[in-house]
Symmetry: C2
Subunit: 153 residues, 2 copies
């Protein structure tokens, strides 16, 4: 943590933000810390990026999605998804065929190799999540769930 410093602003008429109490900033720091810890886990073991992992996670849950649907479910943009898919298909972790009715769409799914990686990474991700939640008691966990639901809606 930073050392002590001149606490007050020069002139009283300005109203500087206090980042350490500013919700958007706190969420950003917290989120980046947690996501980075998980990413470190799987980047060390498998050669895989955050975007690639998100694509794999969603294909593990929903088989046969198109690229656009993957983008929707991961909240990533379609360029990022396209590139992640190129790498994943190239590495034999995801299979891609063309939709028989609509030749624009691809039909995506994990391959056996993809499942092996998934089954290794998913428990690590869950363990990290548990590590975070362990800092809260049962009440707090319930409230957090509820608060996130409301903020997202």
């Amino acid at each position: 943590m930073p050392a002590k410093r001149k606490p007050a602003p020069a002139t009283a008429e300005h109203a500087p933000l206090q980042l350490e109490h500013f919700l958007p900033y706190r969420l950003s720091v917290l989120s980046n810390t947690i996501s980075q810890a998980i990413a470190d886990d799987y980047q060390r073991l498998h050669d895989i990026s955050v975007t690639e992992w998100r694509v794999m996670a969603v294909l593990a849950r929903f088989d046969g999605l198109s690229a656009r649907e993957v983008a929707e479910r991961t909240a990533m943009d379609k360029v990022a998804v396209s590139r992640a898919l190129a790498r994943l298909v190239g590495a034999g972790r995801v299979s891609r065929t063309t939709h028989h009715d609509d030749k624009r769409r691809s039909v995506l799914g994990l391959t056996e190799a993809g499942w092996i990686i998934h089954d290794d990474v998913a428990p690590m991700a869950r363990a990290r999540e548990r590590g975070v939640l362990a800092k809260l008691d049962a009440d707090e966990r319930v409230w957090l769930e509820r608060i996130l639901d409301k903020l997202q809606g």
Copy 2:
């Protein structure tokens, strides 16, 4: 192949993550949504990036910091800070002098022009924060505060 897509995974032995209930993922989406909304505000009005705004916000609060101290307080890396400072100083929004005792350190602060931008952006950022918090009732706001404190510690 069964009827439509979107069903459960093929084999029951896999345990796919449910991203929509996975805390790290939800935090990431929420945080990005909020931060992006604020960034849109000030990028439309002033030509300023997220990193630049963070540097300005912290200098508004703590005058005379060095670049390293800014990096600490913003949780950004020193390369990002260095580059943001180069642009800010170039644009006359931040002043930079050399520390009289230690010629390696810089001594940073907002200029008048910097303060004008700060005083325009800070209220917009606060308004966005209020908009988010307005989705919660008083109880929930208290719990959120408490939960963030515990998760960060």
